[in-house]
Symmetry: C2
DNA sequence: CTGTTAGCGCATTCAA
DNA sequence: TTGAATGCGCTAACAG
């Protein structure tokens, strides 16, 4: 009897001897309903465990109480933890999360965005894989629903964003390394086609100069955020006749690759190379040695994005688009040491 | 003009000089429609980029092309990677994933299940945090939609399941340790209230006996899957006057806790303790030393579950409930060594 | 304060 | 092969 289909507003109305309109009113505790009637209806609702059909409701109201979230993948802890943050607030606010991954493919980003749009989600949180994909930008423009970008920037689109301030933590990292006597500091980072790639490099360069150090072109590698790139770049870095004494791996998978490369050639951290990684994940936190990292609160970032989105959904007439900045911090562990020479 | 709302079937009908019924027919390529008419309609559909409203469609058909997935959290790589697997197949089949976490709380499991049910998802994939929660069981029973359990068992519920065969890998692990000369092998595992807790312990015990070894009660710790429990148990294990020479950490977070405890007391792997962990995550794969693990294909498991669910959704009249078993394998790395004595 | 009515966009029965 | 009419379950005018 208590199958999925459930009772309808009509049955409640009959049982309570009122019209469906009245039932609807008490259900949406709107307008004026005589308390006696209200209670009577509510009693019946509870009795038969009535639940309004959100589909029918959505058809009428054009609101679905759902949020679409697109990320490149769920395997990377950084993204899945952000997703956890998003879910934390959505769940608490009775929104449902429609999650979908794009496999680092901007075409898929666009396609998933279209799909979620057709599903009439009330808003989007996007951590797309390519900021300047025309298909994607077109798709974003088609959407009239609010969008919050996660550490991304898209020119000419009306979006809010939660952005990481990489400079704060990077500056501390460079200062720290300098205090240990390091002068040559290498850098391995991802593609400049998304904000993290650009901004991390910019932060590094700026922090170096502020510290009176000039980053060398031969010590900085910019390519992809993937592990392989980290490994290759690290190998090339160390192949130099006179390699740097310290390295900033600007991406957690890059860091994994670096560790792998180091291990393969029997180089030891921090004895042979001082290492700082960006993004604090299990491997760095609990590794041997534990790796000093530039850290940011992934889960919190997801929560901020979700909160921002819900605010805008509820307050659609806002004009100003917000950018929320999240600072990074240096967490010192045991992967750096003073230069001996 | 190309807002979210979009055109309706009615507009198409007018433009094509046919009835809405006919448009609906070509859209669902059903029944008999004269080719000429069909082409005319399709042309207009393409021209104005019409997309049917899934909400309205769902209201009518009672199908939503959505799947609800409930897991305890997205932070643990094991779960988020399974979620990736689920998404892989759903996305490819034009289903949308409604994801929701329960924070290890069976009440929340039940609540989220109710929420997703009320959203009329076409089916569920569940990795709940407590198999015998009455609220949860009640909620599961209320559902007429198909359910696939992820490494869980619920008595008296009509569900399919994708189950891990822990014995295969565990047997190899014990055999391997025995071949290295180990006789005393410790075990740390999670609560017996969910299948992984029970089944891993059973596999361990069985494998030990098959190897002619008797697990000692003082060497086996069963409590929770969390890191803290792993750390505490490991400490207590090593506090023994004559501790075991090898340890099976039956859970990835437990393994993290073990590593942490080991590190804190300056114990080295594998010199002071041979270690095998269950579930292959970054920290073990790329740690120093890399940890020998019992491994299973997380992403594949998610895919299997999703495929199974879609099959059942499309073929609702199946009677037999399937259990799909996924084997585990031993991946030997560098965390075990032969006993010296 | 409450009931009647219309319609959200679509699929589907029944006639034609 | 096609069209007219009905209703999925609900909300929102509009009357009363």
């Amino acid at each position: 009897m208590p199958g999925d289909a459930g009772a309808t507003i009509k049955e409640i109305a009959q049982r309570a001897n009122v019209s469906v309109a009245t039932v609807s009113r008490v259900l949406n505790n709107s307008a004026n309903v005589r308390p006696a009637v209200r209670d009577r209806v509510l009693a019946i609702v509870n009795e038969i465990g009535y639940e309004p059909d959100p589909i029918a409701r959505s058809l009428r109201t054009q609101a679905t109480f759902t949020v679409g979230f697109i990320i490149r993948d769920l395997v990377d802890t950084v993204f899945s933890t952000m997703a956890q943050g998003v879910d934390n607030v959505l769940r608490q606010q009775n929104y449902t999360l429609l999650l979908s991954t794009s496999s680092h493919d901007p075409e898929r980003d666009a396609h998933q965005l279209a799909t979620l749009r057709s599903r009439r989600v009330d808003g989007f949180i996007l951590a797309i894989s390519e900021e300047s994909s025309p298909a994607l930008i077109a798709e974003v423009r088609k959407t009239s629903k609010p969008i919050v970008l996660l550490d991304r920037e898209m020119e000419g689109t009306a979006t809010d964003a939660v952005l990481t301030d990489y400079l704060s933590g990077t500056r501390d990292a460079i200062t720290y390394l300098k205090s240990l006597g390091h002068r040559r500091i290498g850098y391995i980072g991802g593609a400049l086609t998304i904000r993290p790639g650009r901004e991390r490099l910019r932060a590094f360069t700026l922090a170096m100069r502020e510290a009176g150090l000039e980053p060398r072109e031969s010590d900085t590698f910019v390519g992809s955020f993937l592990q392989d790139f980290g490994a290759e770049s690290c190998a090339r870095l160390l192949d130099q006749a006179d390699p740097p004494t310290a390295l900033l791996a600007a991406g957690n998978q890059i860091g994994v690759g670096v560790l792998q490369a180091l291990r393969e050639r029997g180089a030891r951290v921090p004895d042979d190379l001082s290492l700082i990684c960006l993004d604090d994940v299990d491997l760095f936190r609990h590794g041997n040695p534990p790796v000093t990292v530039i850290s940011r609160p992934f889960e919190r970032i997801g929560e901020l994005a979700a909160n921002r989105l819900l605010e805008r959904i509820r307050n659609a007439d806002q004009v100003e688009h917000q950018q929320i900045f999240v600072p990074t911090t240096l967490v010192i562990r045991e992967s750096c040491q003073a230069v001996s020479a």
